[in-house]
Symmetry: D3
Subunit: 340 residues, 6 copies
């Protein structure tokens, strides 16, 4: 059991039931999610000691969120309380030719007031072996970006491995701003997780012949991208999720792990999607678990991809899958026969 930190925002997700559109619903299913919280929950299911660092409002809505994290065994003892509100995102599930739609109502959330003293960082980092963040956290606001950097410094001083999922969100910041801030943070990063689109959006890296919208893969493009990233930022380990979007209902899904000059392409799955939100985060969690526990590279990328394949079959942001379930799929049993 490793102590693994993640830091970021967690929001309330409000979603019309089944395939109802916003304009059709008169109820919302409630769950909670956010890149780093999702990773923490998944890691806790994998048996790790997952510690989530964030700030929640000091009211019942904040409690709802904290209680959900506790239920899934995430250590919430370092979460600060205060600020104005919990961020919300409204999510309408797509199907077939109709894309899922997300409306953010996250401005003015408590985490934007995260300040020195809110969290005892030294205590939180003590004994930790890994910290994970996504590009969403520094995008929230300058104060949070600075706070994050101060945490990363403590991590590096304590020998903590740092992973980052680029995760560009154009509603939160411009590409220029993202490039400036993220480039500055790369020096703390040991493991970079991305997809082709994010590398393009954040770092402006565009290998030839890729067309993401078309949902077709181009392994060479990813390798070329990784090479540029590696040379620019000195990051040895880079992982890509490779999504081929056939439609909102069916995707192909695989992953690519690049270590130094070697690359490992995972098995590819055709997914009948139940809920794809949090798919990338479940990949990150799988990869962190695998690398933390010294899986072979090819096993690591297969575990990460199997982890996220299962996530696509689970409602909500969180990947409720155990090591045993993921290993079984990664090991080749994807027939879906009933387990009695």
């Amino acid at each position: 059991m490793k102590k693994i930190l993640t830091i970021g925002e967690v929001m309330m997700r409000l979603q019309p039931p089944n395939f109802k559109r916003f304009k059709q619903t008169n109820s919302f299913d409630v769950c909670f999610g956010g890149g780093e919280a999702n990773v923490a929950v998944s890691l806790a299911q994998f048996g790790e000691n997952a510690v989530f660092l964030s700030k929640l409002p000091a009211n019942d809505i904040g409690d709802m969120c904290a209680m959900e994290l506790k239920k899934w065994d995430v250590d919430t003892s370092h979460i600060a309380r205060g600020g104005e509100r919990l961020g919300i995102y409204f999510c309408e599930k797509g199907a077939s030719q109709r894309a899922s739609k997300v409306i953010y109502d996250r401005a003015h959330a408590s985490i934007n007031t995260l300040a020195d003293g809110d969290i005892d960082i030294q205590k939180a980092v003590l004994g930790a072996s890994w910290l994970h963040f996504t590009g969403i956290t520094p995008a929230l606001c300058d104060e949070v970006a600075q706070y994050l950097e101060s945490v990363l410094k403590v991590c590096k001083a304590n020998g903590v491995t740092v992973s980052c999922d680029l995760n560009y969100r154009n509603k939160l910041w411009s590409k220029d701003k993202a490039c400036l801030v993220m480039s500055g943070l790369m020096k703390y990063v040991d493991v970079l997780i991305s997809n082709e689109e994010d590398c393009k959006d954040v770092f402006g890296i565009v290998p030839a012949n890729s067309d993401i919208e078309k949902g077709e893969l181009n392994i060479n493009g990813y390798l070329a991208t990784a090479k540029i990233v590696r040379e620019k930022f000195g990051i040895k380990t880079i992982a890509f999720t490779l999504r081929e979007s056939i439609s909102a209902s069916v995707n192909n899904w695989s992953g690519l792990l690049i270590e130094d000059d070697k690359f490992y392409h995972s098995k590819k799955y055709t997914l009948n999607i139940v809920d794809r939100v949090g798919g990338g985060d479940s990949f990150s969690a799988g990869l962190i678990h695998a690398l933390s526990n010294e899986y072979e590279p090819s096993d690591a990328i297969n575990f990460a991809v199997a982890s996220s394949a299962i996530k696509h079959t689970i409602e909500g942001d969180f990947n409720i899958a155990t090591v045993s379930e993921v290993s079984k799929l990664a090991g080749g049993n994807g027939s879906g026969r009933v387990e009695r």
Copy 2:
């Protein structure tokens, strides 16, 4: 069919189903409400041409709200679109000894950006005979208070009757601020609606021997309060809702209409409450309908109270009751026999 304007904020209400507490739920029932929107909907059910003035965000969440108002026949053509977000209030329904609980997440709502030019006020007021607002609207922020006053001026210039429900909200402003602003607006008001508590909170008027928490009535106290209000602000028509809270499940409910030196105390109802949010607004709507259509004072207060008695049996903020239903109850038939 009178053209009646109301102006104010409308929010999304998120409520755990049945009697679940916030911490127990994983879904929210969705409805929409706000003092002036509630009055508009009820008036539309009474057959009036109800026009709601407000501002909603230009996204699907704003559309959801506007569509709900359209469904209930409210004229939404003057609602401005823009701003950041739709205000939300979380509502946990109480029962017996457990009070209902409301958590507001209304800051930064679109209406706070309401500005000149957003609504064509002259056009909206054209042909209108009445405008209603509550003390919540000027409490939102100074800009909205000023906007409201500018609308009231247009109304007075056009001979529009103005009613105001004091409705003090301590989360929005201090009592001192409320007293200052509301006192300034009273010169535009023809009909004032209140309860004893609001008059105390806003104007500091405290007649002897009242104890609101105990849920006991004190008619003389209300009359004394009305006298002070009438003398201070020159308002001829004052109406009070008289709530005796036995518990969150059972209330006694009646009303008092005071015109000059005369007062009219309505029939009193013992309510088994289904949903009490919006109870005061349904009283306002009943009173406006009755006074607009020149009911006798005693009929008017009985209509207003019957209107709100029915509201307490209806889920959501809106009073889905027709003139025929209210009149039947006001006329004495409250036996609840099945209507076939």
Copy 3:
């Protein structure tokens, strides 16, 4: 186990969930009900061999209805199949000062085509000791009224006891028509079940000093009514349900059994109503069970009233209560302690 027949229409009931009004709902709870079907189901729960005679459309909607009856152990083998449609009634549940509302969509139902040969009446009546119908059945249309009379003749020829619940429905026929037809059928009736209102509506019998809308009891009025009925139609056994409607949520409920010159007034219950539709039918079923099994008159009326008291706590038209449950309540245990 007695073989007891009932004959009449059964409809699909469509009801908004909880206390939603028609205009608020986007789903309906589905159940089935109709006076005589309700009596049959309740009798089957009491262990009797309840046979329901009716006609249902030969499609899945008719099957849904028949299957529900089978589930509750009603003998459906004599139900004819054919005709155009299953009658529907929309039901909006009231609360407190808001009455429940029923909208009938029952015209053109299959039962209106019930014709000789549809049911093997001789076979159905064979071995039966009792037949029950309500005033709704002959009100459906002339053909059904004639069909009913032909069945009653077979019953009388076979020594079958006949009970009738007057149950006047003003949407189905005029008071004059009802009086004409029902007076003609009284010669077949051994046990008449009514309330004061029905006797007034159908037979024009109005004892002094009664005011049903006010929900106050007037035992003498009922006795006077019974005397007139007894003298006019020669019916020895007459039972009244005595409902005092405080509101749609709270009723007082008792019963009166009159045999020759003696009367037996049951215990009175204050009911917190879950669903009052079918309340009268559960009284009829309780009375039929008690009289069929030769309870003492005072026990019979107490059983009938306890049966219907429990019905008011059960969702749907059907009284899902056993002899043991009813007897326990009739015997005095209404404290509502948990039965473990």
Copy 4:
């Protein structure tokens, strides 16, 4: 914003939730639908001034329907009120090898009593540029067919373009009757919408080598059919929906627009179906919007097909899709990536 009229019946749809069969359910999801109402709603979402002409019962059930249409911005001011009942259709959603099943309970609906004077047709047509009807409307009864023809005459007198979706319903009339009546109406029609099956059923046009049940396309067959129709009725613009039914869950879907001698075959979509009822109507609405706004023919057919592709992913009869959403899909983006 064009003023576009549609005329026909709208029914209440009662559907077991999810994939439950009729015999399994104890609740129904409620929505409303009917060919011409569906087209009106879709056109209103496209920003057109959609006016629906029909007749609804004057009760809460009729109100429910009218309110739903208002919610979606359809102009309901010309809908007549009266008659006996709202038609109902029960719909059981199929999956894979199990077909969806529809049971109609539409006889005796209010629209069948539609008579001169119920609607002010001159006023309704004033300013309109288009009227749409389906073959269901004249099939309802002779009176409605005559009423429809009278409306079509007014339309032609006012230069209104008329479109007709053949939509043969064998439960409503025979093929012979349909041929007779529909042939008579073709002289008013400018744009004919059909599928191969309808042309065969209504007009007896059977090109060689087609086998609809097999779900295989035969473009030449459609062109041959169009040629016959064009020659017979002088209709210049003919559009076909081309459905290849793989199963109840998966369909291929495309469209064919034929103008004079030219034809335009749209992109083809593989649909994972959420709800296919109303699929044809969303095609009609897309086509009417496109042709009304003078899209190029190939753009028009692609817009119509994209419109209906999205409809298949939406619950209920109505196509809740905007021009922007449809254009994006028609323009090539069907990858289903989350829109944030």
Copy 5:
């Protein structure tokens, strides 16, 4: 209408709604199921007189189960009542790469106390033409296995055809025990139903080149297996279900009927699965119906496979499909077009 007996356990199935995992749910959908009960229900839908032999606890939970069976026309008059509890199985529905998961809580169920005298076997068997059981029944416990054998003896003495679905459950007994007991029962069996896996698990028959987990078919392997079974136990008629598990959402499905030296391979369906539990039982029911009614062998296997194809589209254990529906699919119409 044949009288067909089935004997075995029926359990309550508790399932999180939709695709929720156990750890996510706060409600369970309730249905009932068990191999032999499932067969009885399906046969009753096919119009047979299906008699289910079992034992249920004498409480409301046992009643719930019996009532559900009655609803579906199963004869429950021979079900014994008593014992401790109704067995439960918790079922989590899988999707795509995530398998469905079943947790049994069936120990100590009432059926394990089934003893001589509980059922009047002579009476139950009287007039019966067929009895069906699965390998689960003798696996429950030794007493039930002996009871079953005593029933089989009565069946053989009365000329009743006996079918057995091998259905190995490793949670109930070891392979060795299963082989011993089942081999002993084969002498009573006329029709054996199995899949390759069960024959391997129970009888240790492993033809070359099969890999069940991979979900690939190997017809020759099945034929070889059948040959061994036929030679060993003298069973003339053997049927296999052939499932190719692509994923938990998509399966290919066909069947193989082997009579003496001839075999009949059915049409193959690609199934989009709604609920696959009970799929095998619906095959058995289809086969029993077909063989009982003397279908041609190829028609019989096609009917059995079509029956089970439809089952995969239906929620719950029971196959709610009629002969007409199955015949239509078996006859080639699987296009899933709406049936109006």
Copy 6:
């Protein structure tokens, strides 16, 4: 924050939604409960360090239960895992004259296998100030009773205060057995919680003139009972819950605390019941919190009663109420006004 232990069984509760009876439902709401678990959850909401000792099966069902406890901040780290199954109780909610009904399916639960070594008792007790158990725990089976006594010995050795709620369950053991075992355990008990009925059932103490079924209070009877208990077992602090059952919907509720010769009768509440299961446990939790934190006796009993009054308004076994909420009610504010 005190460390407080509770020890006992926790079960899954399966309840039909709303007021449906078992025979009407096709879904169950799921929650978890058991006397000592309920106390632990309530204490955790009061801010105490509540540690629950028990044994759960090592499967997802056991996980569901543990996760729910974690969500509510109960320390689950000492819960043993293993054994056969989680006990279940089916609960049908009563109303008015219909009592709630509980069917236990708790035999063979994991806790019955609780054995030395399953829990590190010394570690669990370390630092604890209080342990609570109910009469249900020793009633489960002899092994659990012995295990409990061994824990009580450790508690006494460590100066831990012990409270016991008598809670007689006649389904678990006879009155004679209960008397024998409970009398033996009284020497460890410092605070005894009971109602009149339990003292009668367990210890045979029957003061004159009490009639529990009638729901009338008899304070002297309770004092007499307490005197006997005190003299017999030397327990100084005794508390009674005083329930007057008007019906299943309405109860009066108060409490009595007796310390040496003094008694303190709390305020009495009239409860409109939402869910009364766990009402006694929430009283115990309130009392333990109050006595642990050295409230004055009259404050303690008022806190305990207010705690349980609120519980009756909350769905599920657990009392989701904070110290602030309970104190406010105990302090006199029970008007149920909305808290904004």
